[in-house]
């Protein structure tokens, strides 16, 4: 029995059936299929809710071991463990006992820690881009020189000091953005969409097995 359940065909079969139930109603209007797709969406939500616990357990496992071994930087792990436990408990959806998204401790941690930290991380991207631009904008060959030139023109078209000094900078920047940039962007998008369709076909035919255990190899 256990060997039967471990057969690789089972997850492939499940993937094919559930994919088709989601894809067909996008193109074809058949009420029972629509209902089935909506029903599966509800299943997915339930599965996702359960998966949250997997995340918490993984986090506690990783950082718990760091604490246990007193690994380098163990105090950071202690902070993660403490706040994971606190947020998990006060965020439980039990409004009748004062827990959940409206809980004052949860709100305090969310508004005064999570949000500012997320905002800070987002903001420092500017510095990473500046550092990467410094390395990327070097005229090592013809292609890199074109990137450098386009980059300089785009900077000039976006910086008021340059557009005030020489207004055509704005038009040049707009042209670069709307013509060569857009053409490349669309070419990549079309190519990626075709790759996506091919991946979907491989998955539906059961030959794309990389996402299965061990790349789908039989044990």
């Amino acid at each position: 029995m256990s060997n039967l359940l471990r057969r690789i065909e089972i997850p492939i079969f499940i993937t094919i059936i559930f994919t088709l139930i989601q894809v067909i109603p996008y193109y074809v209007y058949i009420q029972p299929l629509d209902d089935a797709a909506a029903y599966i969406q509800r299943w997915i939500l339930i599965c996702l809710a359960l998966a949250t616990f997997v995340g918490v357990l993984s986090l506690l496992l990783t950082h718990g071991k760091n604490l246990q071994k007193r690994s380098k930087g163990w105090y950071f792990s202690a902070i993660v463990v403490v706040f994971t436990i606190v947020m998990s408990i006060v965020g439980l959806p039990l409004a009748e006992v004062g827990l959940g998204a409206a809980n004052p401790i949860y709100l305090f941690l969310y508004n005064n820690m999570l949000q500012p930290l997320s905002g800070t991380m987002y903001a420092i991207i500017a510095f990473f881009i500046a550092a990467a631009a410094f390395r990327a904008f070097r005229a090592r060959n013809v292609e890199a020189s074109i990137v450098l030139l386009a980059g300089i023109l785009m900077v000039c078209s976006n910086a008021p000091i340059f557009t005030v000094t020489w207004p055509p900078f704005k038009d040049i920047g707009t042209w670069i953005f709307a013509v060569p940039n857009m053409a490349t962007n669309r070419a990549i998008t079309i190519g990626a969409a075709l790759g996506l369709v091919a991946l979907a076909v491989r998955t539906l035919m059961g030959i794309e097995r990389g996402y299965l255990r061990g790349g789908g190899a039989e044990q």
Partner: protein, 266 residues
């Protein structure tokens, strides 16, 4: 109220369905051809070829390998397949890492992907006969918050100083942070995404970058499975259709005709 064509097909999606069926038929045809022994030749993907080199480098330096599959779920129509492609690469990297005895760390953002990633890696270790070397704590759920994940990943890179950092999947604003931090940590970096807004960041900050469709082809390329390689030829039919439509659409729009637009709107 849903408007339909022929009472069944949803209006505005028929042309897309026809294109999809044609590409699917072409892909199926080339898979059949591959089964019959006619395997198409693939162009070389430098980024994918470099994966072995990156693993070897990490082993020689005695450093771990970090391999992530992006931050998207498995469910989204456009980004989910990138996660699947990333997991295919992870499967290959895990098998190689197990064979050469390198430590593999997998940062995960989505809780629903964690069991899949853990299963892929664990089985790869078992298939390599190194099941005892698999450490579940190395499949690390970092945070479901985008920048929580990003800061955790950056910290991981700076603490572990990996010899290789492989990032293939869907990434958003954190791509620059991860790639730049990996570069500072001294890792050989291979990246890949189909997110057009993030490709430039990966291009400038990593050693090799898979662009767009290369991400989806990576798993097939690595496996060298004739059936998977055959399916890639089916994409070329789609590419020919897309090119014809682009040229035809450009010409017809230039002369003021809306014929193609009307057909596509069916």
């Amino acid at each position: 109220m849903v408007t339909t064509v022929l009472g069944v097909f949803i209006s505005g999606r028929v042309f897309g369905l026809v294109c999809l069926l044609v590409i699917m038929a072409a892909t199926a045809y080339f898979i059949r051809q591959a089964q019959a022994g006619k395997v198409p030749t693939l162009r070389r993907l430098a980024g994918v070829d470099a994966i072995d080199e990156a693993i070897g480098r990490a082993v020689e330096m005695g450093k771990p390998i970090v391999c992530s599959h992006g931050i998207a779920t498995l469910r989204d129509a456009t980004t989910g397949p990138q996660t699947i492609a990333g997991l295919s690469v992870l499967s290959y990297v895990a098998r190689k890492a197990a064979e050469v005895g390198a430590r593999l760390i997998v940062p995960v953002r989505q809780t629903e992907v964690w069991p899949v990633a853990a299963d892929v890696v664990e089985t790869a270790y078992k298939l390599a006969g190194k099941g005892a070397d698999f450490k579940v704590e190395d499949i690390q759920f970092l945070s479901s918050n985008q920048f929580g994940y990003s800061s955790n990943y950056m910290g991981l890179l700076m603490r572990e100083k990996p010899g290789a950092n492989i990032m293939i999947g869907a990434y958003w604003a954190e791509s620059m942070q991860l790639a730049e931090t990996g570069s500072r940590a001294g890792a050989m970096q291979i990246s890949g995404t189909a997110q057009t807004s993030q490709i430039p960041f990966f291009l400038v900050a990593t050693d090799y970058c898979l662009i767009g469709e290369e991400v989806y082809s990576a798993g097939a390329y690595l496996s060298q499975d004739p059936l998977l390689i055959g399916s890639l030829a089916g994409q070329d039919v789609g590419r020919i259709i897309a090119t014809i439509l682009v040229v035809l659409g450009g010409l017809l729009t230039t002369v003021g005709s809306r014929v193609l637009l009307d057909i596509m709107a069916v």
